[in-house]
């Protein structure tokens, strides 16, 4: 699948980049196209573009604060997950989200 996502934690120092890297690593390993934007201490990194959003099957939001520019994702399937889960269980998180989206598409 084609996945875009945003990670964002309170301080924006540790969980934000760790969750982003885990999701990218495991997403790639599972054979998905995945791009994760980090909203951390440096502001927005690896920004998701309108084209990325257009092409995405769903949007994964792993945040424990309100994210910036969520309105970009209006009309897309949005799945919210705990950021801590993405750091240590990124592969499970992605697998569950993909199954949920597939189930929805097959309805």
């Amino acid at each position: 699948m084609n996945i875009v996502g945003v990670t964002s934690c309170i301080a924006g120092l540790a969980h934000t980049p760790m969750a982003a890297k885990s999701l990218e690593k495991e997403g790639g390993r599972l054979g998905h196209q995945i791009k994760i934007e980090q909203q951390g201490a440096m502001g927005i990194m690896n920004r998701i573009t309108d084209d990325d959003i257009q092409a995405a099957d769903f949007v994964l939001i792993a945040a424990d604060r309100t994210i910036e520019e969520e309105e970009r994702f209006a009309g897309k399937v949005i799945i919210r997950v705990k950021i801590g889960q993405c750091v240590s269980h990124a592969s499970d998180v992605i697998t569950k989200c993909v199954s949920a989206v597939e189930a929805r598409l097959n309805k």
Partner: protein, 153 residues
Amino acid sequence: MLITRDNIFLNKTFRDKREIFCFLATHAVAQGWAEDANKIEADLWARENQYSTGFESQIAIPHAKTANVSHAGVIFIRLQNPIDWESLDDLPVQIIFGLLVPESGAKLLHLQIINSLASQIVDDEFRARLFAVNDEDELFQYMKSRIAIEEEV
């Protein structure tokens, strides 16, 4: 440099999180990153109490982004004996990355280095080396070699 040999401590002995936070705060003051160790300790607890900074694989990243810090700092500690940290996988923690960042005005380069370091921690090879290195010098050189700055900010 944000990462220096003076801020790497291998084979330290601490009994619990409290002793480590006290050490991180005291060291931050000794290095001139902050003036009041008590405030730094309180800042570390304030973040820690939101949810544990313990990850899996026996690594924790206690951190604070606070106005009580004037200069960013990274402190690396590898413990002789792992301690409890209420980590996600319930394993005791042996490696601690303490991160301190000013509330505002942090140098972009410092934030990039911290971002790069945190990203590396999910890499199996990087983690393995943190546990395997023999001395401070070796670890310092290795960490330096692995810092990658992405130029898209």
